[in-house]
């Protein structure tokens, strides 16, 4: 069995997925919890984008990829402020 991700890994994972557009930013007013299913789907999309096996869990390879040097821009556009939105 893959080593269970530590709480710190999970926290890093959620922050990382939110920062790069795989998860929507939390809404303090709505205080919605991230459902495990959504987190799993977000991890899968990230794994597919990074060319990793799509396990849906924060396995060591995925956490290692999250530590790689990279560009600050999000991978899923529209989720971060760098995109200039055209007014409809």
């Amino acid at each position: 069995r893959a080593r269970e991700p530590s709480a710190q890994d999970v926290s890093l994972g959620v922050d990382w997925l939110t920062r790069y557009g795989y998860l929507p930013p939390p809404h303090p007013a709505q205080a919605q919890l991230q459902s495990p299913a959504k987190l799993r789907d977000a991890i899968k999309v990230m794994q597919r984008f990074a060319g990793l096996p799509e396990t849906g869990i924060l396995d060591p390879l995925t956490v290692a990829t999250m530590h790689k040097p990279r560009c600050s821009l999000p991978d899923v556009l529209g989720a971060a402020g760098l995109v200039r939105r055209r007014r409809r």
């Binding site: 790069y20 557009g21 789907d41 999309v45 597919r48 984008f49 990074a50 060319g51 990829t65 530590h67 790689k68 040097p69 990279r70 560009c71 600050s72 821009l73 999000p74 991978d75 899923v76 556009l77 529209g78 989720a79 402020g81 760098l82 995109v83 200039r84 055209r86």
Partner: protein, 416 residues
């Protein structure tokens, strides 16, 4: 590749290095030369031109390049050595649009043999891709991959990958060839033969807001809308990769040129293969065409010569449904054989329209029947359409307005 949706309207862009890395062994002249080569990489594949300007100019350049540390007046502070390396802003009217920032706490190198440090040229080419409007790409050989891939070789000889060229050409068109062009770099690989006879008139692009798609499929989380020899892609975030359709044959490598219309498409569970249907045949793809030859639909249990309107795989039982008119067949993927007792009447799917354009299952597990400009939604695991079906496709899927006129399903009387 993903497109940011914004492009420069002009073709000559100005740039200037506003601040230089402190403490890295690179001289200002080397940094300027590397930036020039990085921009030229994109210019060589388009009709874009890049003009360096001095700091005395009347206006700020389009692309202002800075080396900065930690918080530096935009909402993306750097994080010291490693982690985030650089970022750039997409094209636009805002003064910050196009500006490119590098983390000054990185050890920027050029031509380093020992792999130490971060190659400035490679990161610059990537960030200028953003400054021109490209998002990140998952293509293995793309410079637009989000993660640092190491040096990319000699800046004077580096060429963009096919994926990056196509992304750029989606935004700015193909680079014009003139008899005066001297090849400054290795000649491009010969282009594949045109899918259309050269003497045919250029085809007008279809309007996605007209709906009436030939096929619709959820493929690896993205929704593909096929229409004639074109298709659009909708990302999981709900954003269209590009409002312009892409060419069918340039993406689906190996699909015979004579296949003009995809009648149905779906991604098969559990192996994730993609099947495209046209006429009484289908082709199966992984990343490329598999097994090469077309396969007859009789393999999936249909009578000889029969065609399909819609095909989808239903996650609840892992079976494949093939719809034609008012009837459908079912194929058991696990047992690799058609289920007996078919075809059956489509009325089992309560509320479903006959002869749908296609059916697909969304990332949230709902089943959608599409026809014309409308969709019918069946909640996850249900074979009964939502009471408010059909709904207009435009606003939800295509970034189009809802049709103002047209047949609407009678609304159920409101409870008083």
């Amino acid at each position: 590749y993903a497109l940011s949706g914004s492009v420069w309207k002009k073709r000559t862009l100005t740039w200037r290095v506003n601040s230089f890395p402190q403490g890295s062994g690179l001289s200002q002249e080397t940094v300027r030369t590397l930036m020039h080569h990085a921009l030229t990489t994109w210019g060589a594949e388009s009709d874009l031109r890049f003009q360096e300007v001095g700091s005395q100019g009347p206006t700020e350049p389009d692309i202002l390049i800075d080396f900065a540390r930690a918080y530096h007046q935009d909402s993306y502070p750097f994080d010291g050595q490693g982690g985030t390396l650089a970022h750039a802003f997409f094209p636009g009217e805002h003064p910050i649009s196009g500006d490119t920032h590098f983390d000054d706490e990185e050890t920027w190198t050029f031509g380093s043999k020992d792999g130490e440090g971060t190659d400035l040229f490679a990161v610059a080419v990537h960030e200028f891709g953003h400054a021109l409007g490209l998002g990140h790409s998952s293509a293995p050989d793309s410079i637009m991959r989000p993660f640092y891939q190491g040096p990319v070789g000699n800046p004077a000889e580096y060429r963009l990958s096919q994926d990056d060229r196509e992304g750029l050409q989606q935004l700015y068109g193909r680079a014009p060839q003139t008899p005066y062009d001297k090849p400054t770099r290795k000649p491009l690989a010969p282009l594949p033969p045109p899918a259309l006879p050269p003497d045919s008139p250029p085809q007008p692009l279809p309007d996605r807001c007209d709906g009436n798609f030939d096929a619709i499929a959820n493929i690896r989380g993205e929704t593909f809308f096929f229409k004639g020899p074109w298709f659009w892609r909708l990302q999981p975030s709900g954003q269209l990769v590009s409002p312009r359709p892409a060419r069918l044959h340039r993406f689906w490598e190996g699909l015979p040129a004579q296949v003009k219309v995809i009648q149905a498409a779906y991604a098969r569970h559990p192996d994730g293969r993609i099947l495209l249907f046209s006429g009484p045949q289908f082709w199966s793809f992984q990343d490329r065409l598999l097994e090469g030859a077309a396969r007859p639909l009789t393999e999936l249990g249909l009578p000889p010569g029969e065609e399909v309107d819609a095909v989808f795989s239903w996650p609840l039982n892992g079976k494949t449904y093939l719809i034609r008119g008012q009837q459908y067949w079912r194929y058991d993927e696990a047992a690799a054989r058609p289920d007996p007792g078919y075809p059956r009447d489509l009325s089992l799917w309560e509320g479903a329209p006959p002869a749908p354009d296609d059916v697909t299952v969304s990332n949230t597990g709902d089943t959608y029947f599409f026809k014309g400009l409308q969709y019918w939604r069946f909640p996850k695991g249900s074979i009964k359409a939502e009471p408010d079906s059909p709904q207009p496709m435009g606003p939800k899927f295509l970034d189009c307005p809802a049709p103002t006129v047209g047949p609407q399903a009678p609304r159920p009387p409101r409870a008083t």
